[in-house]
């Protein structure tokens, strides 16, 4: 085998240009596969970096089968009664402002039940994790900080453990430091920097006793040997008991799913599609390499015949030829791995941050092993067809001096079959890329229901320690609004609890006066507490009635504005204006519906219309809010003055996330854009490869038929006749590829349905456009060889024969 490899190396270096071409084609194909596999491995396959990660499950409350967040009392009951779990825990993201050490700094925080960190099995760098005592009502407040916080704010002071720090105005004792590599939950945008028990945070403590406050995510570790179904049955029984005990829990259940599956469920299909796309590109690359090897093999037929005449068996010839293609693929794989090291960084940079664990993806040992395996497979696959074809050739013909090789016709058929496969695969990819691109365009054209241009939103949390009551929140809100409105470059300002497409939303239940509450029917709507100028600043149209005014303040009659979907759903044949609705927040009485506005896309641009309702912020203050300003110039120019304003208003509180509404929209379509861009890119590369494949086959065919063209031209054929023959042959080959590809695409694109928006999986426009593109590529690939065929000099062609 070594001798075969040595000879293969010698053969390959003797035709450097040819070998380099193949190595480059393979390196690009392999690098794309390595990079994409690294991502799929890092995101979908790799075990979570926690103790017994395979036993970690997500535990979620369901309402009529729909998973949602969990309340703390429900969790406490599950934890007390279940026998299926080693540990059960909950967590929720929040924010905290660190003060007392330099400037006030906003930190992403996670409120957790005390067993979460010990359940994950990650040891703190210093100190300890939480114990049950830390979460007892009235227990001293404790916190665990991230190593980066320890470094940035406390200069790695070893006395930090046991020290008191101020978070959102409350004193917390630092009990531990989590190491830099620890990440939970997986959110690259908002990496958690501080952990605190649920009852230690005033915000979550206020909800911790309410069974209707569903704000927590559940996670548990199954006991060894306990199957998921048993745990599901166990918790379902507990949920059923709770439903009989508490009116709130009617229609509530529990769903237990593998934690990793829940974590990646929104990204799995997209990543698998991408991995399939790069695999298809590699297949095309293999077909191309096989084609090139076949073409060169024709020139080597005599050498192989000599080897046969000298006693080489067919097996030895096969081994020799495959050694060459494997060597080429190995070099290509090496190049591919190097390209992937660079490519993975680029891919991660351009990928949406929401994909869990993506930012920590690397080309690791598993990925390199994968590269080695696909390189070898590539070598064998691309070498096998030419090797079989060439080793089958009859040596007698090749050995007779002055005669041409024996199986040129069979070789031509194989080459054409390979091109057909290339065209078919690239058509499938191009259709997939086309559908995803059209889907992205459709998404970008979705009207979110508000004007996104020149608008900046700043999130703010009001710590309970310094804003203990509604009056203090109202005062802050009023000052904030007035100051924001007065900022230079600001044409309008408004306040809202949350912003559409910001990733945060609030769902609030309600009852309609005169209609008995039916526990079997869920009446809830997306809720916003807003300032009077909100609709005009956002550009949300008022359809009927009136908007809020300054007079709709605390103490004034309670009022409500609903959106058109709400009105159509709950007041289908009557006028909603004047109706009275009681909302499940702030324990106020019924509110009169005074206006109907247009709906907004709240969770995602793909959302179907949802019921939405608004109350005046002044009547229903919340401890967090978003300040929105409409600017006269680029919104980024106002960012600094917004932050400065916040520092003036409350030096102990920092501004949270500061983003333009355009950024919210862009973030909401980041994943489809990423998928469409990559699949489209791979499709273009695939088409180029297929075009090159067709070109090389046609060029080779023209060389083979040189004598025939010479004779035809000597007999009076015109250049256009010869051109027609060559192009005709290309069109016939390509047409078969297109037909095969269309059939495959009709079947394959159904898988994409879950990723498409506003376009069907068999969209005729996309299919037609792709066919037209491929026909264009086909003609372009045939043009040069056709032109060369017309330039054959009959005399010289006949003489060389």
């Amino acid at each position: 085998m070594l001798a075969d490899l040595r000879q293969a190396f010698r053969t390959l270096t003797s035709s450097k240009g040819f070998s380099l071409l193949i190595v480059v084609v393979l390196a690009v194909g392999i690098s794309a596969n390595t990079a994409m596999f690294s991502i799929v491995n890092g995101v979908l396959l790799k075990p979570l970096p926690f103790f017994s990660a395979d036993r970690l499950v997500s535990v979620e409350t369901t309402t009529r089968g729909e998973p949602e967040n969990t309340s703390y009392p429900d969790f406490v009951d599950w934890r007390a009664q279940t026998s299926s779990f080693d540990a059960l825990a909950v967590y929720a993201s929040t924010g905290a402002t660190l003060t007392g050490v330099g400037e006030a700094t906003g930190l992403e925080a996670l409120v957790v039940s005390p067993e979460l960190l010990s359940m994950l099995g990650v040891r703190p760098l210093r100190g300890r994790v939480f114990t049950a005592d830390d979460d007892k009502p009235g227990a001293p407040r404790t916190a665990i900080i991230a190593e980066s916080v320890w470094e940035a704010h406390f200069s790695r002071d070893e006395t930090i453990i046991g020290r008191t720090i101020t978070l959102s105005g409350d004193a917390f004792t630092v009990v531990g430091i989590m190491p830099a590599g620890f990440e939970f939950p997986f959110d690259a945008e908002d990496t958690t920097l501080v952990w605190m028990p649920v009852r230690a945070s005033r915000f979550s403590a206020s909800w911790a006793e309410q069974r209707n406050a569903s704000f927590l995510h559940g996670i548990g570790r199954l006991k060894t040997g306990v199957p998921l179904a048993t745990a599901q049955a166990d918790l379902s029984t507990i949920a059923a008991q709770l439903a009989t005990q508490y009116q709130r829990n009617q229609n509530r259940g529990v769903v237990v799913r593998p934690y990793r599956d829940v974590l990646v469920k929104d990204y799995r299909l997209g990543l698998i599609v991408l991995l399939s796309a790069v695999a298809a590109v590699l297949l095309i690359a293999c077909a191309n390499v096989a084609n090139l090897l076949l073409a060169r093999g024709s020139a080597r037929r005599r050498e192989l015949a000599v080897r046969t005449a000298l006693g080489a068996s067919r097996g030895r010839i096969l081994r020799q030829l495959i050694a060459e293609s494997v060597l080429l693929a190995a070099i290509g794989g090496l190049g591919g791995a190097l390209l992937a090291l660079w490519g993975i960084e680029a891919l991660v940079r351009m990928s949406p941050l929401q994909i869990p664990r993506l930012h920590s993806v690397q080309v690791d040992r598993i990925a390199l092993l994968f590269t080695a395996v696909i390189s070898m497979a590539t070598g064998v696959v691309s070498g096998l067809v030419p090797a079989f074809q060439l080793s089958r050739a009859n040596p007698t013909e090749s050995l007779k001096d002055g005669e041409r090789g024996g199986s040129a016709a069979a070789g031509a058929r194989t080459r054409q079959a390979l091109v057909v496969a290339e065209m078919a695969i690239s058509l499938v990819l191009l259709v997939a890329g086309g559908l995803l691109a059209r889907s992205l365009i459709a998404l970008q054209r979705v009207n979110p229901g508000f004007v996104t241009e020149r608008a900046l939103a700043m999130q703010i949390g009001l710590p309970g320690a310094r804003y203990p009551d509604q009056d203090s929140m109202r005062r802050f809100y009023q000052r904030l609004h007035d100051e924001a409105r007065a900022l230079p470059g600001v044409s309008g300002a408004a306040i809202s609890t949350t912003m559409p497409l910001s990733g945060s939303d609030i769902g609030v239940g309600f009852t309609i006066e005169g209609r008995p509450a039916d526990p079997g029917t869920r009446t809830s709507a997306v809720y916003f507490g807003i300032s009077p100028e909100y609709f005009s600043t956002m550009g949300i149209p008022l359809l009927r009635g009136r908007a809020f005014t300054e007079r709709d303040a605390a103490g004034a009659p309670d009022v409500l504005i609903i959106n058109d979907t709400f009105a159509a759903k709950y007041f289908p044949n009557e006028d909603a204006i004047g109706k009275r609705v009681t909302i499940g927040y702030n324990k106020t009485g019924p509110r009169e519906v005074i206006g109907i506005v247009g709906g907004v896309k709240n969770g995602a641009l793909t959302d179907t219309a949802t019921s939405q309702m608004y109350t005046p912020f002044d009547q229903t203050p919340w401890p967090f809010l978003t300040a929105l300003v409409r600017t006269t110039a680029a919104p980024e120019t106002v960012a600094a003055s917004m932050r400065a304003m916040m520092a003036r208003l409350d030096p102990l509180e920092s501004a949270g996330e500061l983003k333009t509404l355009d950024q919210y929209v862009a973030r909401s379509i980041a994943t489809p854009r990423f998928t469409a861009f990559l699949v489209g890119g791979f499709a273009v590369f695939a088409v180029l490869l297929a075009g090159f494949g067709l070109f090389s086959v046609m060029a080779y065919a023209v060389t083979q038929r040189r004598r025939e063209f010479g004779i035809r031209m000597a007999l009076g054929a015109q250049p256009r006749d010869v051109r027609g023959m060559v192009v005709g042959q290309a069109v016939r080959t390509g047409a078969i590829g297109i037909v095969v590809g269309l059939t495959a695409a009709f079947a394959a694109t159904r898988v994409l349905s879950g990723l498409l928006f506003g376009v069907g999986a068999t969209d005729p426009t996309t299919f037609a456009g792709v066919c037209a593109t491929l026909v264009g590529v086909l003609l372009a690939a045939a043009y040069l060889p056709a032109r060369r065929a017309t330039r054959v000099d009959p005399m010289s062609a006949l003489r060389t024969e």
């Binding site: 015949a305 000599v306 080897r307 050995l399």
Partner: protein
């Protein structure tokens, strides 16, 4: 008898009929003979040589090689028989361009699974015998035509075959080089090897002990 051919025929389909390259050919070649196959172009000389060399299996009739019925053997058995007993010399030498003289000589041995150590000693021996030790690291394109054919003959005999088949071995050489090669064949024959050559040259044929004349696929004189 070393080689026995009985009613061997070779033909290609041509339209509705067939074109015959060899017709009902009968021949016997004894061990130690030096046979020249002669005839005009298209007479079937090279075809006959490749049938004898077992490169070609698409023919009918009977072919016994050392009493083994070649016509009944499967490709693998034929290949084994060929590897064991036959060496081939080509008009165009057909040395492998990417291999040195040493490696070209080693190739038939590696196909016969000769151990590395034995290969080294056998190549060294043949280089010495053909007095081409100084050329062992050269590539074919660094040799003259005569030198290349010398290597070609060395390659054919390195595995000690009983039969050497040569297809116009001096066709591409000038007369002095041709004479040198033919002398070499004569000495190999005298050393016991059976030689069958295809040639157009009366002079080359005179080195042999017997001439088989072919015309249009028929044996017209033996």
């Amino acid at each position: 008898m070393l080689i026995t051919l009985r009613t061997v025929e070779k033909s290609y389909p041509h339209g509705v009929g067939r074109t015959y390259v060899l017709r009902r050919l009968n021949a016997d070649i004894k061990d130690g003979e030096f046979v020249s196959i002669m005839g005009p172009s298209g007479a079937g000389k090279s075809t006959l040589l490749h049938i004898l060399g077992m490169h070609d299996s698409a023919w009918s009739g009977e072919y016994y090689f050392m009493d083994q019925p070649v016509h009944r053997l499967n490709p693998k058995q034929r290949s084994e028989l060929h590897k064991k007993h036959i060496g081939f010399v080509f008009q165009s030498y057909h040395l492998l361009d990417n291999l040195t003289v040493y490696e070209n000589l080693e190739i038939p041995l590696s196909y016969r699974n000769v151990s590395r150590k034995d290969r080294q000693s056998m190549v060294a021996d043949i280089l010495d015998r053909f007095q081409i030790v100084g050329k062992k690291d050269l590539y074919p394109n660094q040799l003259s035509g005569g030198q290349q054919q010398l290597v070609g003959v060395a390659r054919a005999v390195i595995a000690n075959p009983q039969v050497i088949l040569a297809d116009e071995p001096t066709g591409n050489l000038h007369s002095a080089q041709g004479k040198e090669i033919m002398e070499l064949f004569r000495s190999l024959n005298e050393a016991g090897a059976t030689i069958v050559q295809v040639t157009h040259s009366e002079v080359n044929a005179s080195y042999g002990t017997r001439i088989i004349q072919l015309r249009d696929g028929w044996v017209v004189d033996d």
